[in-house]
């Protein structure tokens, strides 16, 4: 069976450090430490669980989840992100879709994708030499009804099961949950809710996510903003790794970036000893 050799969660944006040089440097340091953790695990494939910000998936798209099934990816390049090519793993992506569809999850394949910052910024840290293949798994938080946290949790479980039971043996897989923390996109009152962020991080570290996966999209948005729903991207990798132990690596409220910035490592082999993920279906 394939193995999850590393898993990290992180915010997926960087902005100008002007006026916030020290906290911005701490964010960078934290992201780089996460990146080193993944690089040291020498993954063959990196699955990045994130969301597209309407650079690829438009307002008319209704599927809750999309999986990249391309042979390669060149970032969209907004925010001055370098357009360096990454290898894809179409076979992994197609297999994951088949596995999840058989268990009732609606997913669409993306035969081409220009990953935006949601995927491309984390890759700059976890895959800087572009040695590992990339599989984007996108949650369609932008669709009208959003995507329920419980659906994300279930898909995270299926992802873990697919890696354990279906993906090619000896494949070394890293997981990256990318997004969050609190932020409001497109509103006059854009801001960070540090209390929300710290509550979530504390529960993420303790592995106590039951109340978070039971929250509705509206409940999360009311406190953490419409960008706050991206914490579901974190929860998906936690669901893929039951029993893993999380450690928070960095947190900065970053008001000038209008985003609570955080990152964590999940260690598959340091929890209750269960690194294998049972298929929930």
């Amino acid at each position: 069976m394939a193995e999850i050799v590393a898993a990290v969660a992180t915010s997926h944006i960087l902005m100008s450090p002007a006026g916030a040089d020290e906290p911005a440097a701490r964010v960078f340091d934290g992201m780089w430490r996460l990146g080193q953790h993944v690089q040291a695990a020498r993954p063959d494939v990196i699955v990045v669980v994130s969301n597209d910000h309407m650079f690829n998936i438009g307002p008319e798209a209704d599927a809750p989840f999309f999986v990249g099934c391309a042979a390669s990816y060149v970032p969209f390049g907004e925010m001055d992100i370098p357009r360096d090519e990454y290898r894809g793993d179409a076979q992994f992506g197609l297999g994951l879709i088949e596995h999840c569809r058989r268990r009732g999850v609606a997913m669409e394949a993306l035969g081409s994708l220009r990953p935006d910052h949601g995927i491309a910024v984390p890759l700059l840290f976890v895959n800087p030499d572009r040695a590992a293949a990339v599989v984007p798994l996108l949650v369609n938080h932008s669709r009208q009804q959003g995507v329920a946290a419980m659906e994300c949790w279930y898909l995270g479980q299926l992802l873990g099961g697919y890696i354990s039971a279906v993906a090619p043996a000896s494949l070394r897989v890293a997981l990256v949950g990318a997004g969050g923390l609190s932020h409001r996109v497109g509103y006059e009152t854009m801001g960070v809710d540090e209390r929300f962020d710290r509550d979530f991080l504390a529960d993420f570290e303790r592995g106590e996510l039951a109340r978070w996966r039971e929250m509705s999209v509206e409940e999360i948005e009311a406190v953490a903003g419409n960008g706050g729903v991206e914490i579901m991207n974190w929860m998906m990798i936690a669901a893929a790794l039951p029993g893993a132990r999380a450690s928070i690596v960095y947190y900065e409220a970053m008001p000038s970036w209008l985003t609570g910035m955080g990152g964590a490592v999940l260690r598959p082999h340091e929890g209750d000893g269960r690194s294998r993920v049972d298929d929930p279906a």
């Binding site: 944006i13 450090p17 309407m54 925010m79 669709r143 497109g186």
Partner: protein, 96 residues
């Protein structure tokens, strides 16, 4: 992140960064672009205003409000960039 009812405006704004030529034309002559997209006067007024509140009133998706601001507000585009971190990323990669 809910989608508003102004489908025509949303479709136009979703194309801005996918079609560099459209973005350039918007910056050079936005009235022409609005006219080609057959936007209503109310929609045109909201886009001229450009504020999140005005865009919200005509049903622009929150993410596309951000796209529009990035397109027409150079200060915002200069802030929402990873440019300042690229030298350090290159150095870290070089040093392993």
């Amino acid at each position: 992140m809910s989608v508003g009812s102004a489908e025509r405006v949303n479709r136009l704004l979703a194309r801005l960064f996918q079609e560099p030529e459209l973005l350039a034309r918007l910056r050079a002559d936005r009235e022409r672009v609005f006219e080609e997209a057959r936007l209503s006067e109310q929609e045109c007024a909201a886009l001229r205003d450009g504020s999140f509140r005005a865009l919200e009133r005509i049903g622009v998706h929150p993410v596309l409000r951000m796209h529009y601001q990035m397109a027409v507000n150079p200060d915002l585009a200069n802030h929402v960039t990873i440019r300042d971190f690229l030298p350090r990323l290159r150095a870290e990669r070089r040093d392993g």
